[in-house]
Each structure stands twice: as C-alpha cells, then as structure tokens.
C-alpha cells in the first residue's frame, strides 16, 4: 500500500489537485490558504476545549457557501 501511495503523490495529477484546491479556497471565500490554516488552527483550539478531537482527523473545508468542519472519521 505504501508503495502505491508514494507513487500517487508524485503524479502530475496530485500537483494539479493541490494547486486547484488552494486556488479555489482563496477565490471562493476570498481568503488565502495561509488564512485558512490559521482559521483551522483556531477552530481546532476552540473546539478541543469542549470536545475530544484528534488533530490528524480534524479538517476544515470551505465551499462556495459553507464551511465544513470534520471532527473525525469519514468525510462529510
């Protein structure tokens, strides 16, 4: 499995996906990927005060109209 994973991350598709995702994050809500990371960190800090959250599974995703927060497990 790890062999396949390594191969995947080197393809031009993975570069394209990273680029387009970063672009869309900043264009959809007018915030840079840097800002998103800060938002993500602060949301994590805030939420972990009240709930048990695993850092590796915590994820914030922005679309055109929503901000999704994933606490753990499967994708929203």
């Amino acid at each position: 499995m790890s062999m396949f994973e390594a191969k995947k991350t080197n393809t031009s598709v993975s570069i394209a996906k990273d680029r387009i995702k970063a672009l869309l994050v900043s264009e959809r809500v007018n915030c840079t990927p840097d800002t998103l990371e800060k938002i993500q960190n602060e949301l994590y800090k805030t939420i972990s005060k009240y709930l048990e959250v695993i850092p590796e599974e915590f994820d914030v995703k922005m679309t055109r109209s929503y901000i999704y927060i994933r606490l753990m497990g499967e994708d929203s």
Binding site: K7, K8, T11, S12, V13, I20, L23, E27, R28, R64
Partner: protein, 263 residues
C-alpha cells in the same frame, strides 16, 4: 412550457458549442422539440458545428430588433424535424442585445419548444449575462485542467448568485490513458472539487473532430462520445442512466481498475 438551459463554462475551448449542438440533437432524437440559440455575438460558431452555416438569412439580433419574425430566423436542422437553430449575428457585438431582451426571447421560445438551449460565449462579461438571463437551469462544461476547473468554479458561483440553482456538470475531453497514468484528473477528482451534480463525462474522442469537420453531430455516430452525449440527454429529461465506462476499449484489466477511482 419548456425549459431554458444555458450551456456555459467561463473558459473558452472546452467544448460548449459542441456540447450544445450534441445535446440539441440528442434531445431531438429522444422526441423533444428543441431550439438551440447561439448568443456569441460577433463570433458565430454553432451554425458551423451543426452544418447549417449556408442557410442563415436572419439572426438573433434581427429577431430582437424586430427586423424579422421569429419563424423567419429559425433554421430547421438537416436531419431532425424538431430541432431548430437561432444563429448569432456575425457583424454585431455584445452590446447589441440586453439581458432583458434575451429573457423575453427565451420565454417566447419556451412556449413553443420543450427545450431552449442557450450556447453561452466564453467570459463573464455582458455576453454571459445575456446568455443566462432567461435560464432556469445551467450546464457547466469543463475539462480536467486546473484553468478550466478554476473558471468553472467561478461560473458556478456566478450562476448561484444570479439565482440559477439547478446547475449540472459535464466534464469533457477525458483521456482515459492519461487518467490511468496519473497525468490527468479523473471524473471523480473534478466532481469532488467542484461539488455539483455530474450530468456526464465525455471522452476525448477523435470522432468529435471528424464530426465537426463534416458539420454533423457525433451523437449519431458509433462512438463513445456519441453514447456519452446521448446518456446526458436522457439524464436531462429525467431518466436514470448509469454512467458509461469510458474505458470500454482497453479490455479486461483496464475495466478492473476503472477510471472512476478517486485520487
């Protein structure tokens, strides 16, 4: 009362006009009464793709300005009795018509036709505003490239802002071999990024070039792209059709891996 659907993309060259022509032919094949409108003023193209360029007398601007009646400007398709083209004006520019005028025009056509398909020009300026003015539904065409997806995302946002909620995605020019190598985003990759309903995916098929050379639709030909377009048409009229295996030519192992795998 028919449905007014705008076919748009933001970026040029992704296949809006080819898609409009083929969906028009496909819906007509399924027995619907269809009119396709070219709203790209000054850069008329839909007539050539449909092979009707020699039959144009009047155009969409003539109708709007009252130089002719609607019936005089509508060109009947060579093959399909129930398919008509309203061509664009080659000598006018975008400011010759307004969104209000287009809205009125499409409303009038929707009274007589089951489907009014509006081929939108590239860009997000007035040509775009004109094209979407009367639409209640949109089809966004994109290709699996960063630039096309970025523009598609922008367009989806603009359509939402303009109150068009029924927005579907068509992903064009998929090259299965490149997807398998990891050098082209897959249908799932693009759908995941844009997060709207997928209407269909069209393979990058040589038959499209052949068909366009001849001014004929690819939908009547024995090709994967033609089948994919026909399935899109069936989904538009509400049929539940499963997605085509674009990898049909590569045999057993290709099928096992499939192109719809994510990442």
């Amino acid at each position: 009362m028919g449905e007014v659907i705008v076919i748009t993309s933001g970026k040029g060259g992704v296949g809006k006009t080819t898609t409009t022509a083929n969906i028009g032919v496909g819906l007509a094949t399924l027995g619907k009464k269809v009119v396709v409108i070219d709203t790209d003023l000054g850069l008329r193209n839909l007539d050539v793709v449909m092979g009707l360029e020699n039959r144009i007398v009047y155009n969409v601007v003539d109708v709007i300005e009252g130089n002719c009646r609607m019936k005089q400007a509508l060109i009947k398709d060579k093959v399909h009795e129930n398919l008509y083209l309203l061509p664009s004006a080659q000598t006018k520019d975008k400011s010759a018509i307004s969104p209000e005028q287009v809205k009125k025009l499409t409303e009038e056509l929707a009274e007589e036709f089951d489907y009014v398909l509006v081929d939108c020009p590239a860009g997000i300026e007035q040509g775009f505003q004109n094209a979407i003015a009367g639409a209640t539904r949109a089809i966004v065409v994109t290709t699996p490239e960063v630039s096309a997806i970025r523009d598609a995302d922008r367009i989806i946002g603009l359509l939402e802002k303009n109150g068009i909620k029924n927005v579907d995605l068509v992903i064009n020019k998929i090259r299965v071999e490149m997807v398998k190598r990891g050098d082209m985003m897959s249908v799932e990759d693009v759908t995941e990024i844009l997060a709207i309903n997928l209407l269909g995916a069209i393979p990058d098929d040589e038959q499209i070039v052949v068909a366009t050379n001849q001014g004929e639709p690819v939908i009547g030909m024995d090709s994967l792209a033609g089948k994919a377009y026909l399935n899109i048409c069936k989904r538009i009229i509400g049929e539940d059709v499963s997605f085509l295996d674009l990898d049909a030519h590569t045999g057993f192992f290709g099928k096992i891996f499939g192109i719809f795998k994510s990442n």
